[in-house]
Symmetry: D3
Subunit: 244 residues, 6 copies
């Protein structure tokens, strides 16, 4: 297992839905932000189906989740800079239309490191994750050479490294000792998702709520488990690709 | 290797073509049906290209194969309840149009266990199998939450377990000792496929036909081989996914 | 020119964007609502591109326009019952996915009369209008017979009449004498569109604002012009199709 | 109004569903067949939704309608030569996949005259008719030049004339005096459609059934009406295009 | 019939194939260029199927036709500035991918007047013409407002006028007296098309070749015919749309 | 590791871009050609984006790369027989339109062995490679049975073996001892790619150019590395699939 990239100047994390980035690489983003890296989010869908309550107004939910996502970016040490593509939740496609939006963001934000879902992850069911993953790989290919999408307003850009989270074959760790709390804080900014995604149905002060404590423990345990593979107290695991 | 789910009340098996379900999980269906489980088939394509005889009328073949598939369901202990989506054989796509038909069937039939092709199976060439596999995974995601396809006439439904056959990484066995014969009987109901799929070109009484005997032996050997991994006389192997 | 349908019990008006219905058939809806008809809106896109101000947050604009559309429905005498499909503004497609949603609304709301954009209107540039028009014609065909979209939760429904607004060949008038004011009131509920669609850039009390007065005059003149073709003080013009 | 093409050696009529060709140009086909022209049908969809009875088995209906269509071809004086593309009824698309099939049929059958739905017909709702119409126009363009679809097994073929039925702007008549009965006979071969398309719900001997007599009268009246435009006892009307 | 727009500063002509622009509006472009207007071409397809010789190498033909198109631009008084989208000839689609490219060109070149095929032209068979027409109308809608395709590198641009050639309902003439020769010269630059499109099979000096003389006469007659509608010696006819 | 197929009579290698085949299986093709096998290339895209120089004319680049690819075929011992599908580089799709072109080539060329990209290769970013891979697997399925694409001009053909290069799970080696030089020669025929793909920016005599020498070494080392797995001086590695 390889570990700990040099600090990038700029990092872009691409998620299918609001909160996917925090689960996938929140602590690494927090670590890098603390050391001066600029961090950006790109969220592919509008998150409009993310509730178990059929009475929810989807358009209101979209606005709520955008604010939650911006708050999470800030909780990680960013400035709330989030690109929202706004495709319908649950029906994301990885076509050319979506690809030029992702390539555009890569050319405009010029990240050294890009994070994304691993599109080759077997047995991960949600099609939005698979398609968001391919949008990152295919978007990088389109962003890097000058004859792809020459209509875009920014010059080509080739990131140095792609880190895929929820990876089918992880081979890289980022030591996130000291940044577990930032990841948890960012996750808990996604208040609309507490019940359906984090298993937190009860309301109440965070520190008195057993469901919140259980959720924190599950996340912490998982980071510790990854950490053990590299001799760190806590780590996030990735597939690393440098040949971009 | 984990094995033997508790008996479900209802099971739905999704195949690309008539006969795929019998190959993939016929003996398990037969076992469960014998113990009181209701079993259902969903067949994505119309099977209209399933012959080596260019003079075959495809529309007649479709009707023949529907009857064969219903007979196979009965041979497994079911009631011949088969949902036929009827997409053109060989050209199945896994788009939103197909996905809402699969999600609709899941909501209407409310299975505890769903069977499907493993869409991540490497080196399995037929695109219909790959697409039928993704229709199951994507259809389950759409079926389980209320804001997906709210136009459908039935409430959301979340199955408990997905079992993928022809799996890239099998991790679950179902002991089918005593149900090999039912699987074979169901397979042999697909009479139009004897030649192209089962290698049985000769006609004649089943018990005097060496090609039939050879086919029976191949299927039986394969089940025995899987059985050995779990200490069973015969087994079918699956990838099991519970986090749906 | 034929004129004045018998009062329907239920009417559904389908528009590409919030405000299209008010322009196309607002006064007729107001007249029918005043006489006891239940009126419904279906809006295909989210209206997220409807501004000349590049700093507008599209998700906020979506929420604003939904509220404006509901207020317009009420101004016409309805109860604010609006189905929002929420497809991305400017990129509406008339595929099977969208058709399923329109057919579903027709089956659920069971209108006697349906209003829509005329998809055959020549020299009307906006592709969303063309596609919204085809969604109505194609959605009616799918809604009326039992083997189309059997997954939908409501039985087939065949409307009696389709009225197309902005028609290529108008052949039917609805006398809207007395309902011009209701149409104007509903149009002016779309406050976010005052500048880009109605040419009203200045703010201020409606009755003192020359741009508002000019807009009112243009709409009133247009209705009077149509009225003259049928001997009415004011009318809205349509292509009428009864053979559905 | 121009009228009466010279007798072609071969004619191909393309319809969206079984029975569309008989309605559109059945009497002209019968006239030409009687004088030695070879006639061919190409039917784009499988007709599987053509019933008001939700209990109908769609696959059985497909087989029934194929036989009816072949019988209708024979009733017109043909040999029952019908190409069935078999696309799902109600969901026909006019993409490259379908175009390839239509171009293939044109190259193989080498018609002098092709008949089709007018895709520019305004206020004709059924999307299958619109798409079947475009498949003919686009299929002819692809069939006529050598670098289009060079994979096809037959050399390019350029028909002499395209006749569009149900035309937006008819400009050509075919005198069908003496062939009305053949058209009616062919239409009545589509027995599964008597109720939903021809308004004939009652069963019984044709010559004693008032609904049959009414249907015959409607068709006959319509042909007489077209005939009057050209001084014929009966005619079918078309848009004629020679610049192919 | 309205006629003669004020001289625009910049004009963009969009054609499906090399040579379509010269047929549609070549003389008007020549007139405007002579008076100081900058003229630009945008050609949607690569023209790779434009020959009756099956031995032609399509890639060589593409290069040849690009050069011919640039020469034609110069013959009209331009500088050979042609945007080639390069989509496969005969298979042009009017999807979002293509629309993005057309909108980009409009924003970059900032034309006052745009020319295009009339997509509503009835009984014009070639699907590339229909789709190229819709790409212009839909591309203008996308180019003009800031929230459409914000990824593009140029600010929004709203042309003043759209002129559609080969129009279903022409309502505008441009007097091209004195520019017929320029149009003919530009057309004859498309040497690879002499045979299949212009009916000129023989080789030889232009002024001694009867087929060339016949072609010149046909084009000249057509311009004179349009001219007569407006009292001009020669004119090109268009549908004019100002409400963009 | 299995190794060394019997010499096929005909082999077809399918690549996404010009040069992919030489990288993937050039030495094996050279070996087989030297022993009398007929070798064919099929290249899916036009290679029009294969440069880092934004001033390159894409159409000229296409022509250049076709010639380079034919020269490479000859360098391998073939006759320069290359099928160019010509889809836009960087935007290859694996739809039915592309699939029938690949199936057509397989039926026409009748290869015993087909080579292709492994579409299941994880962490290979370029979408054209993934899609070219699926076109081979799906094209073989379509080519082998008579009811798939019956419009094609050649009878069905079932290759004996599929060898996937850049494989996710290689299980087969071809000993290419003695054919390394031919592979290198063929690679260096792709002169337009020296800089972007082979890292050779400097011009000059091949044998004095250190960058060329480095490239030769990298390729040679890689073949030697594969060779070691099977006890050969040099080998190319594949996933082998016989059950076609």
């Amino acid at each position: 297992m390889d570990s700990n990239l040099p600090l990038p100047a700029r990092a872009l994390a691409v998620g299918a839905h609001p909160d996917d980035v925090e689960f996938g690489c929140g602590a690494t983003l927090a670590k890098w932000a603390a050391h001066g890296c600029e961090i950006f989010h790109l969220i592919c869908t509008d998150g409009s189906k993310g509730t178990w309550d059929p009475a929810t107004d989807p358009a209101e939910l979209v606005v709520t989740r955008r604010k939650e996502q911006q708050a999470a970016s800030i909780a990680l040490g960013g400035r709330g800079e989030v690109v929202f593509l706004g495709w319908p939740d649950g029906e994301l496609e990885s076509g050319l239309r979506q690809r030029f939006e992702v390539a555009s963001a890569i050319r405009r934000l010029r990240p050294d490191v890009v994070f994304g879902h691993d599109p080759w992850k077997r047995y991960r069911l949600h099609p939005d994750h698979r398609n968001a993953g391919f949008l990152v790989t295919d978007g990088i290919v389109a962003a890097r050479d000058p004859l792809f999408f020459p209509e875009l307003g920014d010059p080509p850009h080739r990131p140095k490294t792609l880190l895929l989270f929820e990876a089918d074959e992880p081979d890289h760790l980022e030591d996130v000792t000291g940044f577990v709390e930032a990841k948890l804080a960012a996750l808990l900014r996604h208040e609309s998702q507490l019940r359906s995604t984090m298993g937190i149905a009860r309301r109440g002060a965070e520190n008195e709520n057993q469901e919140v404590l259980d959720f924190r423990q599950r996340v912490t345990d998982r980071l510790a488990e990854h950490g053990r593979e590299g001799g760190f107290a806590a780590a996030e695991a990735f597939k690393r690709i440098d040949k971009l």
